[in-house]
């Protein structure tokens, strides 16, 4: 078995996947109140499509937006819209949200007739994916309909389904691959059809040997899709790194994967597209890994909008003294302290980090050990990005390629001075983007 990887950088954090790996996907009772943010994706936020006091059905569209880069929002349950108001979300920011109280009937919008995706034309599929509100489930929450609509002058020959799940603790993609291997293969073919690719790959880190074996067996004698074993190395599942590992193509700085004829979708996103196209199912739930210092860790299929506190309660509550509650993975996720924040489309995990794993050393000056330079998968110099970002020298940070950083956090993970490079790069990006916007407006 050849094992592939990206060529430079990367780190090996402890995996912490034992407690949930291989555990089947389970469900929990409905929360008494769901909070559905009107922006759960990269791009323009949605406008409410229903009013306070109105009854909504499960699967009914409750928010939409006409912008190209956006995705509509659907109600995960039937119930009454109690309020439309700003509520705390996974990033800690307040976001206009639809507060829905589920009713006893749990009535859905009438199901569509089962569709054969092979009979549909490509634009129809794109419209269905858009209407179903599907966004990337890996964490970045980029609208899937945009990804499967590459520029006309960029032919796509390769679809890569991302089953790396390189974040420690998370096992939801693993669980999905084990639960629905045939559907995943079909979903891969669906994406291949939409973008016109002749070859599909499913990239999986070797710590999920059972998933690799299962899919390889199913794909025996099927030359259009190959399973690619990837080295356990963070951030193997990053888009550009995975493309490099699987097909040895490098996406140039500032460009999208379509530049090299490839697109990448997370396993959950691919399956959500298949479900939308064949069953008409909008994105109203997702599988979340609830793990760490909780009494009953597991992979839970949760309606979008379920408050984290409800989810934690049904996973047995905190075990011991929790230090952090992280939405997403521990390398790139957000720490929250308001547990009313809901699970949204991009919430791959709820990781409760006990105090013993939290580094409390103070942030001190860079000692130029160079470890960040060694581990940066993008070939950047995080030491300088940190020094410039910390001091608000954003022009300098931009010159040293801050905009090419995708915030994997490998640098800050190894830093002996405990410097928070990711945070400083985010500040830099905000400042640079604001400056660029101003320049554009000045020109216009």
């Amino acid at each position: 078995m050849t094992v592939k990887s990206f060529p430079r950088g990367g780190v090996h954090p402890r995996e912490f996947k034992e407690s949930t790996a291989g555990s089947p996907i389970r469900e929990i009772p409905l929360a008494p109140e769901l909070v559905v943010p009107l922006s759960q994706h990269l791009g323009a936020p949605c406008e409410p499509a229903v009013k306070v006091g109105e009854r909504v059905l499960a699967g009914q569209k409750i928010g939409d937006c006409q912008a190209f880069i956006s995705a509509p929002i659907h109600s995960p349950v039937s119930g009454i819209v109690k309020a439309i108001e700003p509520r705390p979300t996974m990033t800690g920011a307040m976001m206009n949200s639809m507060v829905i109280v589920p009713d006893a009937e749990q009535e859905s919008v009438p199901p569509v007739e089962k569709r054969d995706w092979q009979a549909l034309d490509v634009d129809e599929i794109r419209n269905i994916v858009r209407a179903a509100g599907i966004v990337g489930l890996g964490g970045a929450a980029f609208p899937a309909s945009v990804k499967i609509t590459p520029p006309k002058d960029k032919p796509i020959d390769t679809v890569i389904i991302n089953g790396c799940e390189c974040e420690p603790f998370l096992t939801c993609d693993h669980a999905i691959m084990l639960a629905r291997p045939d559907d995943l293969i079909e979903a891969t073919r669906l994406v291949m059809k939409v973008v016109g690719a002749s070859k599909g790959y499913i990239g999986i880190e070797t710590n999920k040997a059972d998933a690799i074996k299962l899919l390889e067996e199913k794909l025996k004698g099927e030359p259009d899709i190959s399973v690619v074993s990837c080295e356990v190395m963070y951030p193997q599942g990053a888009e550009k790194q995975l493309i490099k590992a699987v097909v040895n193509r490098e996406v140039p700085p500032g460009m999208l994967p379509s530049e090299v004829g490839a697109i990448v979708h997370n396993v959950g996103t691919a399956l959500a597209m298949l479900d939308a196209v064949t069953d008409g199912r909008p994105m109203t739930s997702r599988v979340v890994t609830v793990t760490g210092a909780v009494n009953q860790p597991g992979n839970i299929e949760v309606p979008i909008g379920t408050p984290v506190e409800h989810l934690l309660k049904h996973c047995g509550g905190f075990k011991g003294d929790p230090g952090k509650v992280i939405l997403g993975g521990p390398m790139t996720g957000w720490a929250i302290n308001d547990l009313t924040a809901p699970v949204q489309k991009g919430t791959s995990g709820v990781v409760v980090l006990s105090r013993e794993y939290i580094d409390t050393n103070p942030i001190v000056a860079c000692v130029r050990c160079g470890k960040c330079v060694e581990v940066c998968p993008m070939g950047l110099m995080p030491n300088l990005l940190g020094i410039y970002g910390e001091r608000g020298m954003y022009d300098k940070a931009e010159k040293w390629n801050a905009m090419d950083c995708f915030e994997c956090g490998a640098c800050a993970y190894v830093c002996p001075s405990k410097r928070i490079m990711v945070e400083w790069v985010r500040q830099t990006k905000q400042a640079v983007n604001a400056k660029r916007r101003q320049q554009r407006e000045a020109k216009a």
Binding site: P252, L353, V364, V367, C369
Partner: protein, 316 residues
């Protein structure tokens, strides 16, 4: 429901355990073998030099940082390492005031006045060792006042020999010790660290295995000295094992703050120091030039970083 005790610090939420203190602790572990050999052969004199340097370094930090309005950070062990490395650069017959002056200059001037750990441009230990030599007129009066005040524990008589480098310089290979002697123990009275090349290499390899230093700088430095001295007709292996080369290659030139951080920059830096060492030794006025070579290249480190900026992923 806000859980106020939950921490909100930014990602990544997992960190590799090591803080600066852990790396410094490993440097100390790496220095123990050669220090032990030096203590064994040079006795209480060597111990006294070590105490003066390490103690002087700690005291300097305790005094200088508060003067600069900062809290001392003895716990990160940086001053201990600086003082320790400084001690290993002195011989057991060094005047006590020289050791103390070196420690004060190393921690007080080279490190704290430059802005503290991370901002220093020169390797503090080498700065403390070399500056009193280079600026002798500045410090000479101390010698006149205190010069005879040598540490006078009973000295083993091995120290009357010439150091291997002095022998090489004076007599060529005729008087040079065997490689085995140099690798194991050769108490010829040079700097404490020169007593055993093997012990220094052992410590250096430990730091590489523990990933605190990159192999690139020592490898480039040693390879350059080997090749260039051979080309110029000097005994290459002797030049690697003798003098301060190995201590510098593994512990000084690899000093985080004052060395380049890019992979190619580190190779270039090692090569440059190696070239300087050979030139100093073969054509300079004194037998040794390792300290000067490293100090000369220190200020170039940040510039070398810029010259050897890595290729950004996907860049043509």
């Amino acid at each position: 429901m806000t859980e106020s005790k939950l921490l909100l610090t930014p990602p990544p939420h997992l960190k590799q355990g090591d803080a600066i203190m852990h790396a410094m602790r490993d440097v100390i572990l790496a220095l123990i073998p050669v220090t032990a050999v030096a203590f064994y052969f040079y006795g209480l004199n060597a111990v006294a030099i070590w105490v003066l340097c390490v103690g002087g370094a700690i005291l300097t930090e305790l005094v200088v940082r508060p003067l600069l309005g900062k809290k001392p950070e003895i716990g990160n062990l940086s001053s201990v390492v600086t003082g320790w490395l400084l001690a290993l650069c002195f011989s057991a017959t060094t005047a006590w005031w020289t050791a103390v002056l070196g420690a004060v200059l190393a921690v007080g001037v080279a490190k704290e006045l430059m802005g503290g750990l991370g901002w220093n441009w020169f390797n503090p230990a080498l700065f403390g060792r070399i500056v009193p030599v280079v600026f002798y007129p500045l410090f000479g009066w101390l010698g006149t006042a205190l010069g005879s005040a040598r540490i006078s524990f009973a000295m083993p008589d091995v120290i009357s020999q010439a150091t291997p480098l002095a022998m090489l310089k004076g007599y060529g290979m005729a008087g040079a010790p065997s490689l085995t002697e140099m690798l194991t123990f050769y108490p010829a009275g040079g700097a404490l660290a020169e007593i055993s090349a093997g012990a220094v290499i052992l410590g250096g390899l430990f730091l590489i295995v523990r990933k605190h230093i990159s192999w690139r700088i020592p490898a480039a430095m040693i390879a350059t000295v080997l090749v260039l001295s051979a080309v110029l007709g000097a005994p290459p292996v002797h030049h690697v094992l003798a003098g301060g080369l190995l201590l510098a290659a593994f512990f000084m030139a690899t000093d985080w703050v004052t060395a380049p951080v890019t992979p190619n920059g580190r190779l270039l830096y090692g090569v440059a120091i190696g070239v300087l060492v050979v030139l100093f030794r073969l054509y300079g006025g004194s037998p040794e030039g390792v300290g000067y070579s490293v100090l000369l290249m220190n200020p170039a480190a940040r510039w070398i970083d810029r010259m050897t900026r890595p290729k950004v992923f996907g860049q043509a």
